[in-house]
């Protein structure tokens, strides 16, 4: 590197470039995609802090409750956000949740497979479904909206038909007894940090049951998966070559192809990602409930997309963040649970969800203009 270049580079890194001073920290922050969702989450917490602060919503038990709901949504919202950044939609997430549920339950209950084999089978099916979605979209060039809408019906129908054919019913119960001593199931079914809650209970810092054990027993597995997924997705998007390819594929497919980005492979892998996330969601739910239901995950794909949009993802692709989607999910989860602690009728939740999305889309549009036209 030449001396001149070195001096330029050192100026850039030490922040002494006189042109850099104008860009304040605040402005950089304002240009981040997740700003809206983080701000929205803060507002939501302030609101419920005032309205429901003394109702037990923010007790250990209440907090874990809304975190659990947020986390479940968050797992699929993050995968949906990554796919949206890559320029595509997946409307089959909800149906995949139902399908994955019976892929675990039927082999485990009716065919006598060990639970862990059933779980691996469900994930293998998810990879297949995701691959099929992806290859269809990439090969045909059809909008993913249409392709995955078809998959939404196909998967839901197949889930119902297969379950009724094999079991004669639409629900498959009896999984709870299989969880114990299973080499894999614990990853989706074990509360963590139990010692902490036991200790808090013994110090009388959190609510106890009549038998003296704490009401909140530990951090639910969904929350751990949710945090791990957020960190992993953020790492991929910001720190890896594949992350750059995701932004490029969604931002300008042709341009990305011209400079050698394997756009097709990137998109297919993202479709596999949403299907696998749906299966993580399903596994946690099925093991928690001890049963699979063919209608599980209904409309979840739209909630996931809504959370991703509130989190700053553009519908046109190429822009967004996993952290934003995580906060989007936190907003929805908190409100959907928090509304029970207020005097507001829970029927209003959907109104809130829709209004929130509208505000987010208008706000994101404004942010995109700022980012691309600030000169």
């Amino acid at each position: 590197m030449s001396d001149k270049a070195k001096s330029i580079a050192s100026k850039k890194t030490s922040g002494q470039d006189e042109r850099l001073k104008e860009v304040s920290k605040l402005r950089l922050l304002l240009n981040r995609p997740e700003l809206g969702a983080v701000g929205g989450a803060i507002l939501v917490f302030i609101f419920f802090g005032i309205v429901a602060g003394d109702t037990g919503m923010f007790s250990a038990y209440g907090t874990l409750n809304f975190l659990d709901v947020s986390a479940n949504l968050g797992i699929i919202a993050i995968a949906a956000a990554m796919l949206m950044i890559g320029g595509e939609f997946d409307l089959s997430i909800g149906s995949m949740i139902g399908f994955a549920g019976i892929c675990i339950a039927i082999p485990a209950i009716y065919w006598g497979w060990p639970l862990w084999v059933s779980i691996i089978f469900a994930f293998a099916m998810a990879v297949l479904v995701g691959y099929f979605n992806g290859i269809l979209v990439v090969r045909t060039g059809l909008p993913s909206f249409i392709v995955t809408l078809a998959m939404l019906f196909i998967l839901r129908g197949a889930t119902l038909a297969i379950t009724r054919l094999i079991t004669g019913r639409t629900q498959v119960p009896g999984l709870r007894v299989l969880i114990e001593n299973d080499p894999i199931a614990w990853m989706f079914a074990t509360d963590t940090f139990k010692w902490l809650f036991t200790w808090l209970g013994s110090m009388n810092l959190i609510a106890l049951r009549t038998d003296g054990t704490p009401l909140a027993t530990g951090i639910p597995p969904s929350v751990i998966w949710f945090i791990a997924a957020t960190l992993f997705a953020t790492w991929i998007l910001m720190k890896t070559r594949y992350g750059n390819w995701i932004f490029a594929s969604g931002g300008d497919k042709n341009g990305a192809t011209n400079v050698g980005v394997p756009v097709g492979r990137v998109k297919i892998s993202l479709f596999i990602g949403t299907a696998v996330a749906a299966t993580i969601f399903a596994t946690i739910q099925v093991l928690d409930a001890g049963s699979a239901d063919t209608m599980r995950g209904n409309l979840k794909e739209l909630e996931a997309i809504a959370a991703a949009v509130v989190g700053g993802c553009l519908l046109t692709g190429g822009y967004g963040s996993a952290i934003g989607a995580a906060f989007g999910a936190l907003i929805f989860g908190t409100v959907s649970m928090g509304i029970f602690y207020t005097d507001v009728d829970t029927d209003w939740f959907k109104v809130f969800l829709g209004a929130m999305m509208l505000i987010a889309v208008v706000f994101n549009n404004y942010i995109r203009k700022r980012v691309t036209e600030s000169k």
């Binding site: 042109r19 070559r241 042709n254 980005v261 822009y319 691309t372 000169k375």
Partner: protein, 263 residues
Amino acid sequence: MSENLIEFNNISKFFGKVIALKDVTMKLKKGEIMCLLGDNGAGKSTLIKTLAGVHKPDEGEIVIEGKKTVFDSPKDALDMGIGTVYQDLALVPLMSVTRNFFMGREPLKGPPFLKTFDIEKANQIAAERMGQIGIDVRDPSQAVGTMSGGERQCLAISRAIYFGAKVLVLDEPTSALGVHQASMVLKYVVKAASQGLAVILITHNVHHAYPVGNSFTVLNRGKSLGTFNKKDISREELLGMMAGGEELDKLEVELEEMNRINN
């Protein structure tokens, strides 16, 4: 004189019955800017795509540094040092300067299987490269969407050079730009050539081509009307040779006619 860096000998390309290119010959030396002129439909796009390895010529040969070469893919052409900057520039407005600069060819660091995108190094190189062109990139993490058209063009050219282009193929680099922006791009093109690159500048704008070009190849309906050195041809003669020339003459006559009638 040194030998030619790249030679196009009697290249022809057919699409079914359509003769897109017929017997086109071009030769370029290091440091030379050759302008490829032609009206719409003259075969410029086909020629670019043949250069870039998208199309294989049906007849004729491509010779690079004395070696006969066949491009099987765009990547082959890239590896041989043919850097093509398409009209759409292959830039993503929502992505940062750095992320665009290294799109598809990100520098990596870290242990195998856990390699990460070396953003610091990438930022440094992008800032350095843009600084060399004298472009006011306040911050390499700013979005490309905030840059002017001329700056984007220069970024795309700079990227092609950084990734080893010996022959720079520029597709209509000034067509969407104003006078000031266009001159900024052309200045950079001249600078690139002076550093030893061969440049093929494709344009239908003679006024942009004439000041910077060393030689001019005119395409008309898939055929080359010949390659001319600057000293042998005037701007008006070039304009006349492009298909548009006669049309413009006719238009002028017609307009005069209309004026006479109106007066």
